[in-house]
Symmetry: D2
Subunit: 343 residues, 4 copies
């Protein structure tokens, strides 16, 4: 990690993480409007509106729970799909495999992650089929119970509707439930120019991320198969994630849906990323289809960029990661793009 | 539960739960002041100040983690003390036994709660000793690894320093770590008129509650034995409780400590409770030593109170629970006290 | 425990535990007959006969798995019935609550045991109803998913068919699956003079014990609801209980069923217990309905009995437990009965 | 799997699995000699001799527990070394990764297996170092707590003392505990011509296998670091692996140690494997250093071998696995070798 000194960062030069970004003013407003006594936990007037509000976005009946982190959202969703003796097919670069300190092992009581490859962190029908075919159908082997993929992927790339249709068809044929980690789902939808439903495909559950996109502390677990939500409610409480003042969680989500703020914010972040991509050219390790860029970049080059005030993470010895957020200024992004181009 | 209709409640008549109360303005201010890019998770400038800030309150070196709920705080603390094959001595009415949907079983990987009695939900040296003595020291029996008690108790009562000293001495003699569930720790300290350190005694860890006391979504796990904190950090991430914008969590806690807002709020809540207690007289099932009152109250009497606008929970068939919060108005509390007196 | 010196015990004076008893010669024969190469695990010719063999005993289709201990059998059965966020209603004296070092917490991933009382360790419709009624139906409380009872009970008493019918009817009405811990199921059947099916009632699964009854190392998990067995097979492997030379496990069970050896052995043990009971008279703490006796007996009296060569466990400060096994000699049992009578 | 029909196999043509082999007569004798009443569980005269008996074999103080399967032995050993939030470095082909239905996830409460490569299923200092170096030292990543390797490996190959010394040195430097899965430890020792201590190296714990080597149902968990054994005792009970008639488990182990029967049996199995290897020539996929052979072998060739009465498993589409056991006849092995040579 760069030496950020643990202190505040001049935000306009900040490409460290969308996790570092500010909270959108409309989210603040909605939270403050929620500051009146109401039924605790998720019995309040806002939490009880979530199913309908998200149902309108997805054009179908859904059941929705708020959760404080993407890790919790992913694990609560998967816990409804995977028995302790089962497994989840996912990509080796997936957040659940790499970045959650084994949270799926905790929430799924020791279930196993079964790794299938694919360029740009995108699973393919072939890679998933290979993994499934290699699992001998006897009690010595962990059987796959679910498939989990990330939209946009950890490499900043996007599944197209056809990709999703093929993967969910495969999953259903093989008896797997399906989960989408949508930490940057909004950026994927914005890039594709498609609806939430089209961006999600026929998944059983979606971790719909808002925190990286201008929220503060609320993600949504959207059960497109609403029958799964009941188990998730028990598991959320049992995991200590049923916040007592849940109205502030619901307020964030509703503010984000209102007027499609989620899409507006994602478009802004993606636009900034596109500006940087213009300068990055063939340094790019992956197509830029959301708000993350991974660039070949030597240590000396990274030093040079940092000397000019840009803040970002190293990505291994020879690359850098730049992430844009909803509040990135076009000028700054363009400046970074130019700076990279001039290296 | 009363039929609150899932909607907003006229707050001045609200004695349902301190969980329903508003967020203190100073907490809002601190959160908004934190709305600038910073290192994500708990690497930000505010989170890294917590150890020192709480250390100053407790007059000793401590290690502090924020957590989103009391359930998470309790379980993260206990997870550092109890092996999966061990147990936790606690009261049958304790929150960890009754109200957390088995969260300790989840976080402690199946460890057992071992129940010891005591009036007003207060453990005693005798009751704990009886439980410990009854555990045959062989591999067939779950051995106690920790003792957990609640300050103020689930019946709204308070352990005195002598009580705590005797219990922690017993625990240490028997090789148990110690944990205090301080969901209403502030109310206990305010009632006792003692410092945080005196109110806590020589515990290894404290779940220091703020949400019921004017916070929004942040509790503190205070490790008075700082060596326990390292394990808790892994477990917090693994439980999906490491929020990416942790600065908003830390901001709440720091605001609460600043100028002893936590004590000021608790004193207000306790004062309101005392007003009600004045009217409740010998209807009270437990001494009122914090901000909760449990009153004998028939269904007809409860109807009468509700008809006058008071909002509260039934507590079994023949009682009612009234809880005051930091924002209770003295007038309303006095009115409730009178209403009860006139039943 | 008595000071047995960790060495061999003169068996004819041994009333310590049916766990200490010898292996029946017919079990030895069957094991040795199984000593030829066969498909490993449970694919062998003997293991694959178990469903039919037990089906014949119970007069219905069942699915049967062998397991090495009663603890494993109980937990594997319950693991098919109880989700990690659920609970099991059982007696405070039940083996799963008291004597398994928290194994249910391990196998059920933190599910909770919910204790219902009853004399002689027998659950009653009233005690179970009280427990169930006290569980508020919301996510804060662990809900019961299963009912588990022990036949014969830990106090050596027996449920009659009417008792079982009432309890299983209650369980079904309340949505609970049902499990019987039959560590001494044979002794119960022998006492009742009823068939296995009548002794078991309409349970979903039975841990059918053989080890205390002349076996060496094999218990049977009998799924009277065969649809539950599939999950149990995965869990057995995952718990390290799928032995590679499973044919020796199956051989023990088949030998026990052959010619109703299980009943013959249990009748012998029960008969010996009845002899002792004759002498124990009103010292008995519980009716003697199987092969265990619990007698009031002071330390001095216990010393006197031990001085005469009888080996048994203390049962708290003022009682002794005597257990008879299939190989108890009538003479020895009668001698013990007389010795107790003469105290 | 071949169609073995679930029935008994003509043993002299049997190269299916050492799990299918018979029990050695001396093991039977020892078990029958143990058939007298004794203290149940592991308090008997034989179980209490295990520490000394294995201590003599290893030339150091050890603590030893019996367990019914290799899976249980591995997991009980690892459970003393790995916290739930940690991980175990092991080979992708290791039994704990591939063949235990996720048992490590169960016993280690969701800890993660971290895969390091190496030819012939042998970990190398380089492959382990790469895995460890890639784990960023922060709470988002599962940290390695232990290293587990298999001796002989799943490909039938053996670590030399230098290999072990380098790997254990690396592990200690990086703060990892060490575990050896010795399902075929005896075959490794026999191949190397080295003592148990040299074959094991400086591991903290060894799963010492006997079942594949002429035993019936007992493996030994040998804690070369005896301080780890205490936790394992609790975990064994909690996993339902503390058998009540443990004397029959201990008897098997002691019989195996007596007169180095374990080595004698392994030498016989290895010798048979060498005969087959003579005929297999360059069809061998791995060096034959124990009692397993993996040969390139087309479906037609496998049919031809089976037509001649040889029983074995397919190993993927183009290979076969042959395993020899203690009771393999040299003639049969030589015949198989010739049959392969003549394909």
């Amino acid at each position: 990690m760069p030496e950020t000194g643990g202190g505040a960062i001049a935000f306009h030069m900040q490409f460290l993480s969308d996790n570092s970004a500010r909270v959108h003013p409309k989210v603040w407003e909605a939270m403050q409007a929620a500051d009146a006594p109401d039924t605790p936990y998720d019995g309040d007037a806002l939490s009880t509106r979530l199913d309908d509000a998200f149902g309108a976005v997805f054009g179908r009946e859904v059941a929705v729970l708020w959760a404080a982190t993407g890790t919790a959202a992913n694990c609560l969703a998967l816990a409804t799909m995977v028995e302790p003796h089962g497994g989840v097919v996912c990509h080796p670069d997936s957040h659940i495999e790499v970045d959650e300190c084994g949270a799926p092992g905790f929430y799924l009581h020791g279930a196993k992650l079964l790794l299938a490859g694919g360029e740009h962190a995108r699973l393919t029908v072939d890679s998933v089929t290979d993994v499934l075919d290699a699992i001998r159908d006897d009690v010595h082997r962990v059987q796959a119970h679910a498939l989990s993929l990330t939209q946009a992927t950890e490499d900043g790339c996007v599944y197209r509707p056809d990709d999703l249709a093929a993967l969910t068809a495969l999953a259903r044929k093989r008896g797997l439930k399906t989960h989408m980690d949508g930490a940057r789902f909004a950026n994927a939808a914005a890039f594709l120019g498609l609806s939430a439903a089209e961006t999600c495909g026929d998944m059983d559950a979606l971790s719909f991320g808002f925190i990286k996109n201008g929220g503060m502390s609320a993600e949504a677990v959207v059960f497109l198969d609403p029958s799964l939500a009941d188990v998730a409610r028990w598991r959320r409480k049992r995991a200590g994630h049923l916040q007592s003042k849940g109205r502030f969680m619901a307020a964030q989500l509703l503010a984000m849906l209102d007027g499609d703020l989620w899409l507006e914010n994602a478009r802004a972040a993606n636009a900034a990323a596109a500006h940087i991509a213009d300068g990055a050219g063939d340094r790019l390790l992956h197509p830029v289809e959301a708000n993350e860029l991974f660039c070949r970049c030597s240590p000396a080059e990274r030093d040079a960029l940092r000397a000019r005030g840009f803040v970002f993470y190293d990505w291994g010895p020879d690359a850098a990661r730049f992430v844009t957020a909803w509040d990135a200024r076009e000028d700054d992004a363009a400046a970074l793009g130019k700076a990279i181009a001039s290296l």
